[in-house]
């Protein structure tokens, strides 16, 4: 496979590119869905091809083909160079590439059980058992479960001499129960909304005790129908870990993407409220806020050996004690910004251009616990599991909804509330963080559906988080 990638690079160089790199990617994916104890879909996809990127002057070009022959690879390289020349007809500044070590290496995701070796029937049976358990609860109309697995081999070659092979394995899934009421639906999910995904094998699914939580999840969904709405107001907000993970993803992870800060995503994903001149001085949040982007965390979904530019996985401090200290970057964006390259450029398959993506952007653990946080709260609400998320194009103004909430009065969890929402402005919100859990409650949550780019790309990202409290937040916004 290295030879195919090499042919693509040589094709680009022969056509005039000053730099080229190519990835041969062979990936398979299996997705299983069960609804109300009946198999809904079993989808297996294999995607294989070559993607080559060429730089000519200030212009990039990218071409991909599913034709895995040497001639097609070379032609793809030539096409990428031709496209890069067309880019130069509407020219921009030079695109220098930050220096990185040239390596020849191999990386493999540590995993115990090859998820593709587990029989489909065993996976289907697990989801049938889970959905059956949920259906036994009165009021549950829909019980659905999903499992997905990815096995990806990538061979990367650059005109600077990189030759890197990676074998990445990702696994996960989840389930949800939906109760239908009079003009409303209520849903509860486990382990989190859209499921929990990690790097690793089938052992990651076994760890989450799917069956042991199904009854509780269904009962909560049914109970929500008769729960009162959360009243609008300002109070202390305690977020469960996976919701705090999503809060990090949306209001920190995307905001620190250097391509957004530089304006490269202005028309679609958006820009950022962050300005490079304020790196190391901007107050992002309270002193409890310590965020890292760490692509080396064992088991986290955004973990790999090298990014799709051949830069080694690394840990970068993003926010230290509340002060903004770092960005997510690639070779060209880092060079333009005068920063070291972060190794955060990845592509969604062979046929997509590598771009700045989150790795594992998470908050470092605090020294408290959920029990302690609740006990310390006089008037608040505890919200769990994301149901809706919306944030503006600068990653400032957000409104999130959760599946479930509980009032917190005088240090105790009170009655359940439905349709809990909260809204805020990013730096003001993070400045309110005043308690943070850690220990066993600190989890590497995985997001399997991060969309960005045109054509659209979906990335798998990780977000370590634990329950946290925000002192005063506007809650209970509704239509």
């Amino acid at each position: 496979m290295f030879d195919l990638a090499q042919a693509a690079v040589e094709g680009a160089l022969a056509a005039g590119a000053q730099y080229a790199d190519a990835r041969v990617v062979v990936g398979k994916n299996q997705s299983i869905a069960v609804l109300n104890a009946e198999p809904q879909s079993i989808d297996q996809a294999e995607r294989a091809g070559i993607g080559v990127r060429a730089l000519t002057g200030s212009g990039w070009g990218f071409y991909a083909t599913s034709d895995m022959t040497t001639a097609a690879a070379r032609k793809a390289g030539e096409q990428s160079a031709a496209i890069s020349r067309a880019s130069a007809s509407v020219p921009g500044p030079d695109m220098p590439l930050a220096d990185i070590p040239v390596v020849e290496d191999h990386y493999e995701t540590p995993h115990d059980e090859d998820p593709f070796a587990i029989p489909v029937a065993e996976k289907v049976d697990l989801l049938i058992a889970v959905t059956k358990t949920m259906q036994e609860v009165d009021g549950i109309a829909l019980a659905s479960g999903n499992l997905s697995f990815w096995d990806t081999n990538k061979w990367f070659v650059s005109s600077q001499g990189h030759r890197i092979h990676q074998h990445l394995v990702e696994s996960g899934g989840g389930y949800d129960a939906t109760a239908l009421g009079d003009g409303e639906t209520q849903r509860r999910s486990y382990p989190q909304s859209f499921g929990q995904y990690e790097t690793g094998g089938y052992e990651t699914v076994r760890r989450w005790d799917y069956l042991g939580n199904a009854g509780r999840i269904a009962e909560e969904a049914a109970a929500l129908l008769s729960a009162p709405e959360l009243e609008e107001g300002e109070k202390s907000l305690i977020l469960e870990g996976s919701q705090l993970a999503l809060q990090i993803h949306e209001s920190v992870g995307h905001a620190i993407e250097l391509d957004r800060i530089l304006g490269w995503e202005a028309a679609f994903a958006g820009t950022s409220h962050l300005e490079l001149e304020k790196l190391h001085t901007h107050k992002y949040g309270s002193p409890l806020m310590n965020i890292t982007a760490d692509a080396t965390l064992p088991g986290a979904l955004g973990t790999f050996g090298y990014d799709d530019e051949g830069t080694a996985a690394q840990r970068v401090d993003i926010v230290k004690e509340g002060t903004w200290t770092g960005v997510l970057s690639g070779r060209d964006s880092a060079s333009i910004a005068g920063l070291p390259p972060g190794g955060m450029v990845r592509a969604d398959g062979y046929n997509r251009l590598p771009m700045v993506r989150m790795t594992n952007v998470g908050i470092l653990p605090g020294d408290s616990s959920l029990d302690e946080i609740v006990a310390d709260t006089k008037d608040g609400v505890y919200m769990a599991t994301n149901r809706s998320w919306s944030i503006d194009d600068k990653r400032l103004n957000f409104q999130f909804g959760c599946e479930i909430g509980w009032e917190v009065k005088n240090g105790k969890l009170g009655r359940m509330v439905k349709n809990p929402t909260y809204t805020g402005i990013t730096p003001q919100f993070w400045a309110q963080l005043d308690m943070l859990a850690g220990g066993d409650e600190w989890v590497h949550w995985g997001t399997p559906n991060c969309g960005k780019g045109q054509p659209m790309q979906v990335a798998h990202t990780g977000h370590s988080a634990a329950p946290g409290r925000f002192a005063t937040v506007r809650v209970g916004v509704r239509a």
Binding site: E38, S41, Q44, A48, G59, S66, I83, S87, G263, S390
Partner: protein, 441 residues
């Protein structure tokens, strides 16, 4: 012979009589030229084919897809082998019998063959329309072939093209957007789309923070496109409807009498091919007629359960997400945007919505933001720009009887939260929209 037909026929022959099977082969060339800070910074193209195979072996169903064309025989064998290990699918609807399929002729050779230089030319026109501004956006062309065959003897072939230019111009303090999509690359006027974006950006200067609350609105087609695709995905969806998660009450007057939604892939203005991934011919589907909800989309599975025929919406993913009208039209009215604005005493003109998410599918309560041009209307005139606002609004409730003041005469393909090419809609003048937050939260 077209490559997609050749591949589909090969797979069908390989399956032989070992299973019921349906095969879809799609592919061709797609290319996208992206620009930001007024230069082309990403420029991509791809060619290739994907083979999708769904088999049923004695009612045991399995589906698989591949882009690896050098081992199709192994792919077929594996797919059949895994099917045999499945449980019997009691709801397997069987294969589509041989049916006539209309070719809607949504293919344009020049679009399929557009070059990087052609796309760069449109980008240059867009950028030049906003001197002293920063431009960002994309120009895309694609030519796609689709072949369908099944073991019941049904065959269909189609091809279509799509071209889009979409972008914004930015000042230091404002942004404005423009969009155009067509099956003909030659229809795209980069300069005109760029001029609209630049005009909105210029008009957006000196924006002020407006107090949130209920405001009368005139919504540009991009906003209406997002409303339409949300109604489709969460409402006019046969699976969501059967599950009780849709707002749809068939036969009920759920919308203003002026509202007529339909889905029509064969409309001369539409995009796409004349059949779905199950081979069912697409046809006009009435969704809302004079405010009365008339139909939902079905694939073969949801149709069988509902006791009706598939409407030709068995698209990839429909087994999980449900069949969704993605050739959606809102019948246009007679008012120009200028006339609609002129009839507003105090309200807002909104260019685009952004980052819309559903709070509850049943009520279709949605939160989202305005973006790239939100303007104050006072005494029938635009009097200034306001900063982006957050809204929390039921999309269904906003269109109920008496709340639709006018429908525009400016129908076109609009961009939407789900992307371009799905909705062909005009502007709308609505009684009110619930804005729940502003720049300050």
């Amino acid at each position: 012979m077209n490559r997609t037909i050749e591949l589909a026929s090969h797979v069908l022959d390989t399956v032989g009589d070992r299973a019921e099977a349906e095969i879809v082969v799609g592919g061709g060339v797609s290319a996208l030229t992206r620009f930001a800070n007024s230069f082309i910074h990403q420029n991509v193209a791809e060619e290739g084919y994907e083979v999708s195979l769904r088999v049923a072996v004695d009612g045991r169903v399995n589906a698989a897809r591949t882009t690896s064309l050098d081992n199709l025989d192994g792919f077929v064998d594996d797919t059949i082998e895994i099917a045999a290990l499945q449980r019997v699918d009691e709801n397997w609807p069987g294969l589509t019998p041989p049916l006539d399929v209309t070719d809607p002729k949504h293919y344009d050779e020049a679009t399929a063959e557009a070059t990087p230089a052609d796309r760069a030319g449109k980008v240059a026109d867009f950028v030049a329309a906003g001197p002293e501004m920063r431009a960002a956006g994309f120009c895309e062309t694609m030519g796609h072939n689709v072949a369908f065959v099944n073991t019941a003897g049904h065959r269909a072939f189609g091809r279509y093209t799509r071209a889009t230019i979409d972008g914004i111009h930015q000042t230091g303090a404002s942004a404005g957007s423009g969009h155009a999509t067509s099956k003909h690359f030659g229809d795209l006027d980069g300069a005109a789309v760029g001029a609209l974006a630049a005009g909105r950006a210029q008009q957006g200067l000196d924006a002020f923070d407006l107090k949130p609350g209920e405001y009368e609105v005139v919504l540009a087609p991009e906003c209406v496109g997002t409303i339409g695709i949300f109604l489709s995905f969460y409402g006019f969806n046969g699976k969501q409807h059967a599950e009780g998660q849709s707002f749809v009450e068939l036969g009920e007057k759920q919308f203003d009498a002026s509202i007529n939604f339909f889905d029509h892939a064969n409309d001369p203005r539409a995009l796409g091919v004349g059949f779905d991934a199950e081979g069912t011919p697409r046809q006009r589907l009435e969704l809302v007629t004079n405010g009365v909800t008339k139909g939902v989309a079905h694939d073969r599975r949801t149709a069988t359960k509902a006791g009706v025929h598939s409407t030709g919406h068995g698209d990839p993913g429909s087994e999980q997400w449900g069949p969704i009208p993605t050739h959606l039209f809102l019948a246009e009215g007679e008012k120009s945007v200028e006339e609609m604005i002129a009839s507003v005493d105090r309200g807002l003109y909104v260019s685009t919505f952004n980052y819309c998410r559903v709070l509850d599918p049943k009520t279709l309560a949605v939160t989202g933001l305005t973006r790239n041009g939100t303007f104050m209307i006072e005494n029938g005139k635009i009097t200034g720009a306001v900063t982006n606002l957050r809204f929390t609004q039921s999309f269904v409730e906003a269109l109920t009887q008496g709340r639709v003041h006018a429908i525009g005469n400016d129908s076109r393909f609009a961009d939407s939260e789900f992307g371009p090419g799905f909705t062909h809609v005009p502007s709308l003048h609505l009684e009110s929209w619930n804005f729940t937050g502003g720049a300050a939260g």
